[in-house]
Symmetry: C2
Subunit: 134 residues, 2 copies
């Protein structure tokens, strides 16, 4: 019987992580300061687990879609609920659904922006082709 339990010994140093995601070490420490990441320690050195890596991924995506670090923290906390009182769970559920509708609005904004820009690009393209005629 193979041991499938503690097998995920995937660990990362700070430089491994910063290279993979192209962020500075400063940034990773900053996120830790803000409670977004909580890597283990080997003496002083930080050791990032697979879960830390996953969280970082979420953080960066959150940033790309325009969330502040504070908001991202809220979202990360959502993924951390194993325990928690029922009332607390309800609050979290509420927050999660709010974020979702927020994201859906953003998606619409983005689609409109894409549509507008596409139209404009085609107009410019048209202007260029007209000039080629002359």
């Amino acid at each position: 019987m193979p041991d499938t339990s503690g097998d995920r010994q995937q660990c990362y140093s700070i430089t491994e992580l910063r290279r993979e995601f192209e962020v500075s070490a400063r940034t990773l420490r900053f996120y830790e300061d803000k409670g977004l990441l909580t890597p283990a320690r080997d003496g002083q050195a930080r050791i990032y687990s697979y879960r830390d890596r996953a969280r970082l991924k979420l953080i960066l995506r959150g940033k790309r879609v325009g969330f502040s670090l504070a908001e991202i923290k809220e979202i990360l906390d959502l993924y951390n609920l194993r325990d928690g009182q029922a009332t607390q769970l309800k609050v979290s559920l509420e927050k999660g659904r709010e974020k979702i509708t927020e994201l859906e609005h953003q998606r619409r904004d983005i689609e409109e922006a894409i549509a507008d820009l596409s139209r404009t690009c085609e107009i410019i393209d048209g202007m260029l082709k007209e000039r080629e005629m002359s």
Copy 2:
């Protein structure tokens, strides 16, 4: 024959605009400082045209989708090309298409974020229902 040309005499004071879009007057002036808006003047007072209003709309949407004011300015400039050399037009076209692919990436990010959050919300929901059983 009705005059369809100069008919759009739609003008807005700074307070009208700030109320409609729920931004501060300071913000509108700031955007002007940054060259994002260029309202006409009546003495010192700003007079915003219908086009200014449209630009503001674009600015705010740009912000919502995470563009910096500098990037938004670039985009706004795209909408302003009536003149311009052919080479300049090509550059603009290039920029516009870059923004579009950027936006498409963002849309994917957002869709993934929505999917993740939805799953998490359902899990939390499941946890709540389990507790109701006991």
